[in-house]
């Protein structure tokens, strides 16, 4: 039971990161019905940008800043990562997706795969083929509640994600831009007729989604301590699965899906190794966690094609 609760906490923190990335997928899909394959790689670029900013500010893997220095380093690298990613997102939309707005559906999808490959290789050329370590500057304090341990990083990760998600939810439901975004998502032409600048709203959507990916990159670095050029693709897939699980196009769904996937991910490592005899999977559940997540994705799509919170929309003719 203790183990289960412990894994739940880990899962919650991981899930928060998945949820932040999933929000970007779901926003873009909601507004232009495109699986933005490059989104995971934007997240990866975010991790690398955060590291670079820290290095520029004189922080290395061994330094332990305190007080205002710590806060300013955290804030600057987080916001800097968000800003770079946001601009990257807008540029990608402008270069690779906007020219294909009216092309057959396959075209932007393939273009997105192309962008993903390009970004991955940019990361490779930039930081090399090995893992890059993320300075662990946030003080590591363990809080023990009963027999489970919660680390300060876990709490930070969950709090930052929660704040961003609430802010996004407020923005989408309460501001003029949010209303315009919902209008464009519902019916692009009608929104344009009502005076919404569709191109600008789509660009803003990419801006916000990519900024969230940048933030996710920053807190991922804090949580796991290292990054590599190909994590974007794997994490992106899992985050996309989270978005689909929650019902794609639905913000609350993406958050819920992210957290659920994080928990499933953590719990799957509890499955015993069947090579030791008895119930389980060969080499234990951890080796299978991706397969488990994708199997769950397939099952969800088979039985509830629009996800947990999504609405079944009839296909437009």
């Amino acid at each position: 039971m203790t183990l289960l609760l412990q894994e739940l906490i880990v899962g919650l923190a991981t899930g928060a990161i998945y949820a932040l990335i999933a929000l970007g997928y779901t926003m873009v899909y909601g507004i232009i019905e495109l699986i933005n394959f490059a989104h995971g790689d934007i997240f990866m670029i975010g991790t690398l940008v955060s590291i670079t900013i820290m290095n520029v500010m004189g922080i290395t893997a061994t330094s332990h800043p305190t007080g205002w220095t710590l806060i300013s380093v955290l804030l600057v690298s987080c916001l800097g990562g968000m800003l770079v990613c946001a601009i990257l997102g807008v540029v990608i939309e402008r270069v690779a997706y906007r020219p294909l707005r009216n092309a057959p559906r396959l075209a932007p999808l393939i273009s997105a795969i192309g962008v993903s490959l390009v970004l991955e290789n940019v990361g490779l050329l930039w930081k090399g083929i090995n893992y890059v370590s993320f300075p662990q500057i946030f003080p590591q304090i363990n809080y023990n509640i009963g027999s489970i341990t919660i680390t300060s990083v876990n709490i930070l990760v969950i709090v930052v994600s929660l704040v961003l998600m609430v802010a996004l939810q407020w923005m989408v439901s309460n501001t003029r831009i949010g209303r315009a975004m919902r209008a464009v998502a519902q019916d692009r032409e009608a929104a344009a007729l009502m005076g919404v600048n569709v191109d600008r709203i789509i660009a803003i959507t990419f801006f916000i989604g990519a900024a969230l990916a940048g933030a996710a990159g920053f807190i991922y670095g804090l949580q796991y301590g290292s990054t590599i050029f190909y994590i974007g693709f794997q994490l992106g897939l899992i985050a996309f699965t989270a978005a689909v699980l929650g019902g794609i196009g639905n913000l609350v769904g993406a958050m819920l899906g992210g957290v659920l996937i994080g928990i499933i991910d953590a719990l799957s490592s509890l499955i015993p190794d069947s090579n030791n005899g008895g119930f389980g999977l060969p080499h234990g559940g951890a080796a299978w966690h991706e397969a488990i997540i994708f199997a769950i994705l397939i099952l969800i799509l088979v039985f509830r094609p629009s996800g947990l919170l999504g609405q079944q929309t009839p296909e437009k003719v």
Partner: protein, 670 residues
């Protein structure tokens, strides 16, 4: 159509002469480059000398026979092609235009390919680059000079009997005179060689014989070409069949009539089939000649290679054998993505299944798992039935994955296939009791065939195996595309709802597409396992699925020749060109070395092999933005994607007023 052979019929008629000059020069230059500058003459002479004195020859009898067949077919096809071109050309394009095309598309590639520094792959890659630049410049010049596009309907003329006889006469004259000029040219060149002393005297008999035989052959090949050209003329309007003139709307419309009411874009396509033709080099008839040349070249390539490219045949053949299974994979994926329009991002899964089926059966792995002793040498015979069995197992998995998921909308389906593509390699990796896990399976049997020695170091049998498999795959693909099922796939791709309303069973049709795609992937998989002699779970990642998709997209979604070219292009970039650049850069004396050094200053650890995915990424984006229909698109696809100014049906061409009895029949031609 039989004509007496007399001096007057063989002298070219006045109106034939410009055409004769145009096409003789156009074809003779590349032919002369091939024969005299490259290895054509060498092939002929080695073959003859091999037959005259077998003891001194480097080649065994079967190679000599292959070379003989190649020589005969090659020169016969070229002469017949010349006759065909002279016969069918309307003469509307000027000589210089045609010669420039020939220079860019035939002479330059020949010169590049024969350059020993470059070789076949790099030579073709450079030629492709030149072609791209040529197209760009030509379009630019045309735009600047305001050259209007040729009106499409010009060559839709119905030939009467007299004109048809003239067509055949032109073909005969063309074939005869082309052969005469070629024979004389060869005679002069050989005499020079003889006096220089490089031609053995014994071959002078052959020179004399050839100079007489070529014109005779040219005459008969010309008649053959004439007959071929006649089969492509526009048939005259058929007379009423039942004589019931009152019921005129039931008449079969003439082909010409049909073409006149089609849109300009359609007519331009249809006009390719017809004789006479404005662009004879691009006509459907000419494509047959190219196809024959290509097939002959591919069939006898292992025999030709040492003469054409020198030593290292085995290495090159092995490389081409590997390119082959990419072609099969691309063709299989084309069924799913190109024909049925279902995006499959996990295609590698079926490839892995096919490879693992043979990996398990064709090695000692099953002994090890089930403790049953198998005789490994007998297992290798099982390869042949297992081509089908492995493919069927892959197809079965396609159905198993497809059955529950195919009702999903496009993007969701893509994600499900992607998930499947990620799960399958994990399963093979982690179920190490059966699959030997991360180490993969080694010692997989090669196929067996009586009288053929198969091993990893003799690539020739694999070359022919993959050639046969590709041939069968292409035939199957063409038959599938043109079948009722294939048309249903295309209907689904265009509009699912409309297709369903027209009675297409969506789920069944999509399932067949999935199964067919997986089937060919399984074929490629079993070949891969047998060729490599092993299976490793590392070879089946999402990156591979993306590469297969890139092949289909870059080549031209839905178009079989386009997809084949796409597969070869991507394979060449992937395996040859970047690797070649790295080899060049490793040599300090080479220019590329300094380029690499300067790049490494900015990006430590940079190699050209490293950036191949970057290149694919950029290419995918560029192709999608600037040429979404691919390099060699299918005509239908191009019309869909480029529907713009030229797609309107010209109302003026409907020469029957609405309401008239003919009108109904006319508007229903499509």
């Amino acid at each position: 159509m039989s004509m007496p052979v007399s001096a007057s019929t063989l002298l070219p008629a006045r109106e034939t002469r410009p055409l004769l000059i145009k096409w003789t020069v156009a074809l003779l230059v590349p032919l002369a480059v091939f024969t005299f500058i490259w290895s054509g003459e060498a092939i002929v002479n080695t073959t003859l000398l091999g037959f005259i004195s077998p003891a001194n020859s480097n080649y065994d009898t079967s190679t000599l026979i292959q070379l003989t067949i190649f020589i005969l077919v090659f020169y016969a096809v070229v002469i017949a092609f010349a006759a065909y071109l002279i016969a069918v050309d309307t003469g509307r394009r000027t000589m210089l235009e045609v010669w420039l095309d020939i220079l860019i598309f035939a002479v330059i590639p020949l010169l590049l390919v024969m350059e020993p520094q470059l070789g076949l792959i790099i030579g073709l890659a450079l030629s492709a680059l030149i072609w791209g630049i040529y197209f760009y410049v030509r379009n630019l010049v045309r735009k600047m000079a305001h050259v209007p596009p040729a009106p499409p309907l010009q060559n839709l003329t119905v030939l009467d009997t007299e004109q048809q006889a003239a067509l055949v006469r032109r073909a005969v004259e063309g074939g005869f005179w082309f052969a005469v000029i070629f024979a004389l040219l060869w005679l002069v060149v050989d005499l020079i060689f003889f006096f220089v002393g490089t031609l053995p005297a014994i071959l002078l008999i052959w020179v004399a014989l050839r100079t007489i035989l070529l014109p005779v052959a040219g005459y008969f090949l010309g008649r053959l070409s004439g007959a071929i050209a006649l089969r492509r003329v526009l048939p005259a309007k058929e007379s009423k069949k039942n004589g019931n003139s009152a019921n005129s709307s039931n008449d079969v419309l003439s082909k010409r009539h049909q073409l006149e009411v089609l849109s300009a874009a359609r007519v331009r396509e249809e006009a390719k089939d017809l004789v006479p033709n404005d662009l004879p080099l691009r006509s459907a008839g000419a494509q047959r000649f190219f196809l024959i040349l290509l097939v002959v070249f591919l069939l006898f390539y292992p025999a030709l290679d040492p003469i054409l490219f020198g030593s290292g045949t085995n290495g090159r053949l092995a490389g081409y054998g590997d390119a082959g299974y990419y072609v099969i994979l691309a063709l299989g994926l084309n069924i799913v993505v190109g024909f049925a329009g279902l995006l499959d991002l996990g295609y590698v899964a079926f490839f892995a299944i096919g490879a693992y089926v043979w990996g398990m059966v064709g090695s000692t792995q099953l002994n090890y798992v089930f403790n049953i002793p198998f005789n490994a040498s007998l297992m290798s015979w099982l390869f042949w039935p297992f081509i089908i069995i492995a493919a069927l197992i892959a197809a079965m998995w396609g159905v198993l994955l497809g059955a529950p998921t195919l009702r999903l909308r496009g993007d969701y389906l893509a994600i499900v296939t992607l998930g499947f593509g990620e799960i399958v390699p994990i399963v093979f990796l982690e179920m190490d009791k059966f699959t030997n896990g991360a180490n993969g399976i080694v010692g997989v049997q090669s196929p067996s065939f009586p009288g053929v020695f198969w091993s990893i170091i003799t690539p020739m049998p694999y070359y022919y195996l993959i050639l046969a498999l590709i041939g069968l795959t292409i035939i199957a693909n063409i038959r599938l595309r043109d079948s009722r099922l294939g048309r249903a796939w295309i209907a689904i791709r265009e509009d699912e709802i409309a297709a369903a309303s027209s009675g297409v069973n969506l789920v069944r049709t999509k399932l067949f597409a999935f199964a067919a795609g997986a089937f060919f992937s399984g074929v490629a998989g079993i070949y891969h396992a047998a060729k490599l002699g092993g299976v490793s779970p590392d070879n089946f990642s999402f990156g591979d699925s993306v590469i297969y998709l890139a092949m289909v997209v870059i080549g031209g979604i839905g178009n079989i020749p386009g997809v084949i070219v796409g597969a070869l292009v991507v394979y060449a970039i992937n395996e040859f060109i970047l690797a070649q650049l790295d080899t060049l850069a490793a040599d300090p004396s080479n220019f590329m070395h300094s380029v690499l050094i300067s790049i490494s200053h900015v990006f430590p650890g940079f190699t050209f092999g490293n950036i191949r995915n970057l290149i694919f990424g950029v290419v995918l984006i560029l192709v999608m933005i600037f040429r979404p229909e691919g390099l060699i698109p299918s005509a239908r696809r191009r019309r869909e994607l480029r529907h713009g100014n030229d797609e309107e049906v010209e109302i003026g061409s409907l020469d029957v007023p609405p309401g008239a009895p003919d009108f109904e029949a006319e508007v229903h031609v499509e």
